[in-house]
Subunit: 133 residues, 2 copies
Amino acid sequence: MPDFLDAVRWDERGLVPAIAQDAGTGRVLMMAWMNREALAATAAEGIAVYWSRSRGRLWRKGETSGHTQIVRELRLDCDGDTVLLTVEQQGGIACHTGRERCFFQRLTDGQWVSDELVLRAPNTIYPAGGGHE
Amino acid sequence: MPDFLDAVRWDERGLVPAIAQDAGTGRVLMMAWMNREALAATAAEGIAVYWSRSRGRLWRKGETSGHTQIVRELRLDCDGDTVLLTVEQQGGIACHTGRERCFFQRLTDGQWVSDELVLRAPNTIYPAGGGHE
């Protein structure tokens, strides 16, 4: 395994949070998790590969939807426990709800209010059902 | 406690990752953690209040350094387990190393390389030592 993986402070589950930011718009698209294997694959393949905690396996973002994230930059924070990806979001949709990004709920008058549009119906993105790929 | 706190999917430690993004530049500044009390305080006070895992107490970002984060937007992601803050970073420095942001290491030829400048010496930010406030 390459050295750069040892510089990461993996948590007690062997994971690190990974933030994906759109290279063009600067919008923060989503946050997911990576283990050593996912980060190594992301660096090697140049596309975002996360660790799916719910399915217990590597998750190549877009493997079902086609909404792949091409990685332009891979960054680590000061204390080595968070990764930041700058990505080109294929299809312009990062969220399994069919929105551009996952952060579509804004705190407004003490409530989370969805204020961003669904660009594509989820059942056309994931015909076999599921979601979150 | 207000309702919006119940919509958050707190992890087994009662925490949620909180990403701070600069409202002006769009740069992702840092990632820290919040518990219920921290998120409630952030919403009530309009400044970023995190939970310091190392010190086991609330941490009003900038309480030592003056590098307070004024919150413009508070967002929650689709599955309720990550918060995104859009902030005005006072002093233009979010990182305890004296850099604009914590993500100053970029993966370059298989190594993490620091490619962002120290804007202010940490010992002038934290005269009493410490760091990370």
